[in-house]
Amino acid sequence: MIKKLIPFIFISPALSLITLTIIAPLILMIRVSLLKPPEGTGFYIPETFSLQNYQSLLDTYRISILINTTIFALEVSVLSILLGFGFAILMQELSNHWRIICFTCLLLPKFISPLIIVFGLQRILGSHGIINELLIATHLINEPLDLIRNHFGALIGEIYLTIPFVTLFLFYQLTSIDKETHNAATGLGASNYQVFRKITLPMCYPGILIIWQLSIAWNLGSFLGPLLLGSPSNTTISCEIYHQAFEIGNWPLAATWGVLMTAIIMTFIWLPKLTISFMFKENPK
């Protein structure tokens, strides 16, 4: 009797933790998004029901925020996968000694608060930052370039925060490919480019898909880059949530944004999976 219960005893603490801190808040968030916003203090007016928050999302400004966020997440994820894949391929060719240095440089940003990284980027790219001072000192430009407080700044900031994970993940994906396949292809007369195009890249597709989904999920919630390095014209959903919840105090509208963002993320996670399983059902072999 007790033997049958042991697996459930093993998993129940962790599952109850997840339920308390993720699932219950998500359900509560859906409920809050259906309440009326408060007039005075407090989070919301309890015991009300309205779809007013969802209707209010349908104005042009809020739809533009939604589109902005999605395009921004797509841009960041594609750019960081391209850069990270290049770096991972470069890391493959290195000796062990250099590889450890690369790993340290990639892991260091994860041991430091993201605020510090964004702060450093402000110092580098700002109008009195290193890059502008250098360019002015060498007389390449006369006026400082606008590198932060625009779309470029936000993009750079988020790429900096995403790229270590992407590179490490793709590096492990590359090392898990059997070296013998390379030797076989080269032995049969393939050039380096052909080996990469016909062998290495197709074997990496599953990993690239997973890390693409993950980085989209992270960057749909991007907050620090757009807020501290971007301009007000490219606010994301997260900035809007922070603004609505803390600066205005309209908790139900913030919760509505949260529900919408969770829905978009789940779409990006599930849609490729469903498409692939549908495509392979047509011809099982």
Binding site: I101, F111, S113, F119, R123, G221, F223, G258, M261
Partner: protein, 265 residues
Amino acid sequence: MKTTLVRILLLTILVSLILPIIISLSIAFSPDSFLTIPTNNWTSKWFYDFFYQTRWIEAFLRSLIMAILSTFLSLTFGMPLAYAMTRLNIPWKKLIHGTILLPLIIPPIIIGMGALPLFYAIRLNGTTFEVVLIHSCLILPIIYLILKNKIQNISPEIENVAMGLGAGLFETLWYITLPLLYPAIAISGICGFAISINETMVALFMAGPTNETISTITWSQLKEAPTPLIAVASIINLIIILIGTIAIKFASITFSYNNNRTNRI
């Protein structure tokens, strides 16, 4: 020719990865109270200053306690979970696996926003414990993935032998499986500690005056009037994490003889 080109490319990448961190940490040694990158005057007075500011010290100790507690909590919850998910029979394994990985894909801002009214309702708001709970939930998937990977690599034969010789399940876990897991537990513990101590978004939502962390003070200073103390706090955090990592490295060298012997059985 080609190798020089590759080397230059590599150095550029590495320098550009590290440069923002070096720049912002170097401000800790600047003599001015407004933020300049020090050029010829280096000072360590901000480090002394840090230890005399009660607000910073309290927040620092609180972050440290939060990080240790949440790592401990999610390790104690994560170990049996990872073991059960690899070795034991559990219905709906895929669904549970997906549920545990949820904190990885749901942005922390949503977790923070959703959890605040909940903890307000159960009167936990403003305590250290609520941040510990949420942090341990954020750490759990990483600990789970690392430990699960390690348990899959341990041959089940070892456990079967122990059980065949008359040991119960808990004896086998305590004397056989747990010692083999020590390196993975240490690594995942360090990862969890680093995540918790640097976590910003959830702390931002949760923190009032009674449970400020290093991240929230850094945030409020960055928005208003930043001082070099931000960089000092970061350096101290980094030193703690690095000491932990080096200690694990040495411990694993010392105990590798024992481990090898156990592996060979």
